[in-house]
Amino acid sequence: MSGDSGKKSIPYTVPIGPVHPALKEPVMFTFQMEGEVVKSVDFAPGNTHRGIEWMGMRRNPVQIVHLTDRICGICGIVHSLSFARAVEQIAEIEVPPRADYIRTIMHELERIQSHLLWAGVAAHELGFDSLFYLAWRVREQSMDLIENITGNRVNYAIVQIGGVRRDISTDQIPLVEQGLAYYRGLLGQMKNVFLNDSTIRMRCRDHGLLSYRDAQLLCTIGPTARASGVAMDVRHDYPYCAYGDLDVRPVLPPQESGGPKGDVYDRIIVRLLEIAQSIDIIQQCLDTMPAGEILWEKKMPKLLMTLKKARGEAIGRVEAPRGECMHYVRMDGNDAPATWKVKASSYSNLMSWIPMLKGEQLADIPIIVASIDPCMSCTDRVAVIQDGSAGFLKKDDLTRLSREKTLRLMQCR
């Protein structure tokens, strides 16, 4: 196939990627086109493979928890939570209920920021950049809350095996509630701009279709599956953390909007409704959060000894913003786990691109590719700790630094 890219008969081969302005993560697409229409799709992931599982099988579980933070720049908690839950089951560690609630709150704050990030990216892929800026400005509130609770915008490092590393204090609860009120007030407006805009409707309705049957056969998960009418949500189906105490239902596209069609538009609806759901879950958690310890064991040597003795296998599973995230861990009495398999959400969702893209227009590729929500990370502010003293680079410093960098680049030419 590679040798005939210059031929003049159909189908034409259009390679997109692995790095391309239309893609937010590196992946190599090869499209067979007939005119503007996609005839078939092939894709090759692996451009960001870092061998994390290999690294993990040479580290102890506490080190791996911090490694899992770095699997994804957006899913800052789901991997560490999945991994910690698997190890806790093997070592029979009971997590204090308060820690379960804090994990749940962080999990849902993450869903809010992730879905808003996606909403911005979707708007950008549609060429609606003012909406992109709006969505990302609104997202900042959840990032600020996450930073307030964990100390970090990304790589939260809040999960520890046996609980969480930071409590939510009584001073912080009003801040979280303010944040929730902010989003409650905005939801109507967000739904209006995304769902009642005629351009968005024209670009997204009936495009990127994924049927119920295909969603099932291709093992699709999360909002992508729910938009096709598959009622699956780990939070509803398989209790973990505080979800066993709560009533969470899978969000499906409502019938009044045309029922589940499995198109890009339905995926927008599902994610917007899930933001509302996350707000409710956080509120319920704040209202019913029990008092008590947040860690099973504070002393690190004791925790490490317990983990070293642990033998067995377990599955840790959570509903990430993009769908089921699952870690399989096997420990055999050594420091490092014998086996560690990470199944991120996109691992299950990638194959749904094939039916979605078939028969679509070339110009619709970016939004359809983005509609299953690939990842992307952003950091707006940097904290630098040097020689023991901490300094913050604020907006002015970053502006100055980026100007200096531009000047340096201009001199280099």
Binding site: P45, G51, V234, Y238, T288, K343, Y347
Partner: protein
Amino acid sequence: MSETPHRTPQEIIDLYRTEFGAGVLDARITERGEGVHKTKAYNIWIRLDKDLLRPAIKKLMDIRSPHFAVIAGSDLGDEIELLYILSIFYGTKFGEYMVTLAIRLKKTDLSVPTITDLIPGALLSEREKQEFLGITVTGIPDGRRLFLPDDFPQGVYPWRKDETGIKPEMVRELWAVNRPRDRPVPPVPEKKPAPEEPAAQGTQKTPGGAAE
């Protein structure tokens, strides 16, 4: 959709035992409850004779359309264990179970039949197991590499713990890689090197290259 009745984890194991008899080598249930109410979530682990993989997956599909999550694999020395991790009864309030079907392959015969005709979504996971564990999936519709680059050496399988695993000379220690020297001066002064080691290390390494 076929709406078969919801079953308890023990009933599922019983179904497997009656169908496959001695082919079920081991079956157990683990449970976990979290939060205040400790609502239980169940995992079912079934270890099977190697030849029963496809019948076992079909059996699960007869009970209720399952969700396939991933195939995990573990190098046990003489054997490689493959764990087909699925879930069943999703969509039922707190009624979903993880079902792990595990088979062992002798290293003298590392072939396993594909399940992509039953569950097309298993393709990526089967491709991944081929390149990471060196097994052969017979009948796989697309046997290309998935995550490893094309120039990754043949016959090296990252998750193997024997001589076909990652060799020490393939590993670049990130901590030993020096900062590139041809970059502009960083805006924040560089951290002062620790007193002892740096003099000896700095001379023998090429900038930006791997230290061995």
